[in-house]
């Protein structure tokens, strides 16, 4: 094995599945991690994932192959995902499941003790491993335990209840540090790092009501976007067809419900109408999410057939034996009873689509480098793997897989940083007239190239300047005394985004929405705080997050406005077809500091492996 790099320090922002996976890989390769998170990693949003994780385990005698997994993912994503990247992920999937199994994840098992598999949307073979209905919780816990072990060895330095504010670049524009703030003491500190990995999860809260946790605010992505990181495919927001509508949160009813035989229907002419089964006989209730959501929307909004005239349809499990349901779906059925006061084993559940997941995110290459050297991104906050629509149970996989990719990549980068330090020492010796060994002399020839690529470590002055800038900005926020309440403003933002930038998108509405969001951005300046204190001031933190969220909302809206076609989760009645000629391209958003608006452009990507075909799911 190569000599382990010493004194490597890498910042991982995020203690979800992706951040923890990256952390493990770094520790195993001899590095040390500064791990930042809003909450103990064990409370990260990944634990909300219920249904399962895809991997071709083929334990059901169905002849499943990784190629089918690959093809389903590309087709499901409506041919907008980098196919080489997707292929890598699908091939790695069974190994990742095996790793989790060794780590003690209590996967649901068959009578003979091997991993059970279930059906999931957009795939005809059973490919989804699961731990009851709390798969994400169990996977997250396993990684959390492994990371805790590394913490006891002194290799992980947890900064829990610290908020990432922004990265720090050196003169060469290379990310070599970051600024964060303690959410209790309010201390703001700048950190010198070899590189920074963002694994901050999805931006659901930009839409106010969604299925995600309250900490999934997209603020970190909004922050680095303003520092020059590009965002890829931001307009692709997944609307999950089956959530329990709520006023504080839309609680997800996992796709596993349909995977285990749940049926969706409404009354039509006095009789149950199973509209998905009728229109898509091949996939039935297991069509991908964008299609199911659109059909439900159509039935409720355009045809006015929602239950009791409201925007709700039935998700029915009542025909399935209760003990089977208990074993496979126990936890979430209990949740429905708990929050709705009705037993889904006996009566059909009432559900409606909700904002759920972002396919888009920070642009990364296949190694999860962003366009800013020294800044990497993995997990839901990046844009890789899912194209225009994500298949259910593929994102726990992409979160874990991207962590396994970015960990070693960040270590290689840090290795270069260490090499440069060593060369600088030799160079200094030489300049002092000491003689070097021939091998050292030879190595020194590479110093200029490395200097060019990495630039210098951040100086104390640079660290302090970055810290002070954030501290000044925070003091400004704490003192804000205007008329607006930040949480009210957030609610308004969410309502707009939910109304105009979800299932059906109309160009003139998107123009309107964009202008309204800009007004909200202006009103942000008129926020007034009721808490002006310097201890655990959650209000002030939220105000800072909100600004990043508003800017990210502009990116999503603008990108949706510009894409005049329908593809995956992005649907425009004005342009009902996929337009490969003009739009089989990745959307790229760059921040324009002058207007604070995004500049949208398009880039080609690798789709050489599977030829695009119409995505119909056998619709009749």
């Amino acid at each position: 094995m190569a000599k382990a790099a010493t004194n490597v320090r890498i910042a991982v922002i995020g203690g979800g599945i992706s951040g923890l996976m990256a952390t493990l890989k770094i520790c195993e390769a001899g590095g040390e991690v500064d791990l930042f998170s809003y909450c103990p990693p064990k409370r990260s949003h990944s634990l909300c994932a219920q249904g399962g994780m895809n991997a071709c385990m083929d334990t059901k005698g169905e002849g499943d192959t990784t190629y089918t997994h690959f093809d389903d993912t590309v087709y499901g994503g409506d041919f907008l995902a980098d196919q080489v990247a997707v292929k890598g992920m699908c091939e790695a999937a069974p190994g990742i499941v095996e790793m989790f199994d060794r780590m003690g994840v209590p996967f649901t098992r068959t009578a003979e003790g091997v991993l059970d598999l279930r059906n999931f949307g957009g795939q005809k073979k059973k490919r989804t491993v699961f731990a009851g209905s709390t798969t994400g919780q169990q996977l997250l816990y396993a990684l959390d335990e492994q990371v805790r072990k590394w913490e006891t060895k002194g290799k992980v330095h947890p900064y829990i209840f610290w908020e990432f504010i922004k990265i720090i670049k050196n003169k060469n524009g290379v990310c070599r540090g970051m600024v964060a703030q303690n959410m209790n003491s309010m201390e703001i500190k700048a950190f010198r790092e070899d590189c920074v990995i963002l694994a901050t999860g999805g931006p659901g809260q930009i839409f106010g009501l969604c299925t995600a946790s309250t900490i999934c605010n997209g603020s970190a992505v909004g922050a680095v976007y303003q520092q020059g990181a590009r965002i890829g495919n931001p307009e692709f927001i997944q609307i999950h067809p089956t959530a329990i509508p709520g006023t504080d949160k839309n609680r997800l009813m996992s796709e596993a419900c349909r995977g285990e035989g749940g049926r969706i229907w409404v009354y039509k002419d006095g009789k149950p109408w199973y509209f998905l089964e009728e229109k898509y006989p091949d996939y039935g209730n297991l069509v991908p999410r964008d299609i199911a959501s659109r059909e439900i929307y159509d039935v409720c909004v355009n045809q006015g057939l929602g239950v009791d005239g409201e925007n709700k349809v039935y998700l029915d499990l009542s025909h399935i034996p209760a003990d089977y349901l208990e074993k496979k779906l126990g936890g979430i059925l209990e949740m429905y009873s708990e929050f709705m006061g009705q037993d889904p084993r006996k009566v059909p559940m009432l559900i409606y689509p909700s904002v759920h997941y972002s396919m888009g995110g920070i642009w990364v290459d296949r190694e999860h480098n962003t366009n800013i050297p020294g800044l990497m991104a993995s997990g839901e906050c990046d844009y890789q793997y899912h194209g225009a629509n994500r298949l259910g149970a593929n994102s726990l996989l992409s979160a874990a897989y991207s962590g396994t990719v970015v960990g070693p990549v960040s270590m290689a980068w840090a290795g270069k940083c260490a090499k440069l330090k060593e060369l600088e020492e030799w160079k200094a010796k030489k300049d002092h007239g000491e003689s070097l060994m021939p091998a050292q002399e030879k190595a020194l020839e590479g110093i200029d190239a490395l200097r060019q690529e990495l630039g210098a470590d951040l100086t104390d002055g640079e660290l302090e300047a970055a810290r002070k800038e954030c501290a000044d900005e925070f003091e400004h926020i704490i003192a804000m005394n205007g008329k607006e309440n930040a949480h009210e403003l957030h609610q308004e933002l969410g309502r707009l985004m939910n109304k105009y930038v979800t299932i059906e998108r109309v160009n003139k509405d998107l123009d309107f929405c964009f202008d309204e969001v800009k007004k909200i951005l202006a009103r942000w300046n008129d926020i007034g705080l009721t808490d002006h204190g310097h201890w655990a001031n959650q209000e002030a933190l939220f105000v800072r997050q909100l600004r990043n969220m508003i800017l990210y909302a502009l990116v999503i809206t603008k990108a949706a406005r510009m894409r005049d076609e329908s593809r995956g989760a992005h649907f425009k009645r004005e342009f009902p077809n996929r337009d490969d000629e003009h739009f089989m391209k990745i959307t790229i958003a760059d921040f324009d500091p002058k207007t604070e608006e995004p500049i949208i452009s398009y880039e080609d990507f690798d789709h050489s492996l599977i030829k695009p075909r119409a995505r119909t799911y056998g619709s009749k």
Partner: protein
């Protein structure tokens, strides 16, 4: 128009770890399926007390809003509970909220549960895998044992059981029911079993399982319905067996 029904909350507040607690009362408009976290969010939008005073919004912790992350534990009408699934219609009003004082209070309802995560280190709460790389296929598992593991692995480190346990607190060094029972989770795993003696040794130490007075409060408090006392009893037996083994080995 029918008059808007209001729900009154009496909240025990505290400005910092060493500050004196005080209470404030808030009215929140009632709506069906309103839960305690949703009510706190309403207060955030308009932090005005019943007597018309504009105050700093109440501070608390929450993430998932669906009873899986464990963050939102607080004392509601005298009982430790998850606030996000505490429905207002199931609670006697006015509703009293207080921080779980088994743990240090940071501010208002926000508490510091670091000790629970530290205890997981003491009991070596992990499977000692060599690495995340490919090594071998994972062993098969008895599906019944796996089902027990699944039950215990629901523990979300919320601390309800810690707050309910009479033996956890500043008066004792008992690490509490949650971390103790986690040891059982790893002991029954086919690979985790290898380190069972080490975990049992840890439980024999001061603050370990012998500090449990078997008062059964914990099991009633657990929002995840983990059969804590069943596993505590099992661990007690395991610890005793280990102790005897140790005598003979010496």
């Amino acid at each position: 128009m029918a008059e808007q029904k209001m729900v009154t909350f009496i909240i025990e507040r505290q400005d910092g770890p060493d500050a004196k607690p005080y209470t404030e009362e808030f009215d929140v408009p009632y709506r069906p399926a309103l839960n305690v976290v949703a009510a706190l969010m309403e207060i955030q939008k308009n932090p005005v007390t019943r007597d018309g005073k504009r105050v700093a919004p109440v501070v608390w912790e929450c993430n998932c809003l669906e009873k899986v992350c464990g963050a939102c534990m607080m004392v509601i009408n005298g009982q430790a509970k998850q606030a996000c699934c505490a429905l207002v219609e199931d609670l006697e009003q006015p509703i009293h909220l207080a921080p779980a004082r088994t743990f240090p209070v940071i501010r208002d309802l926000l508490i510091d549960r670091t000790v629970m995560f530290e205890s997981l280190k003491k009991i070596q709460g992990w499977i000692n895998v060599d690495g995340s790389w490919k090594v071998h296929e994972a062993p098969r598992q008895n599906p019944n044992t796996a089902a027990t593991a699944y039950e215990i692995s629901h523990c979300m480190t919320c601390g309800c059981c810690m707050e309910a346990c009479p033996n956890v607190g500043p008066q004792s060094d008992f690490i509490g029911p949650a971390p103790v029972v986690q040891a059982y989770l790893f002991n029954i795993n086919p690979l985790g079993e290898y380190d069972k003696p080490k975990r049992l040794e840890a439980l024999m130490q001061k603050g370990g399982i012998t500090s449990c007075g078997n008062s059964q409060n914990c099991v009633r408090a657990c929002p995840k319905n983990i059969k804590l006392t069943t596993y505590l009893a099992q661990l007690n037996r395991d610890v005793n067996i280990q102790a005897i083994k140790n005598i003979f080995n010496n």
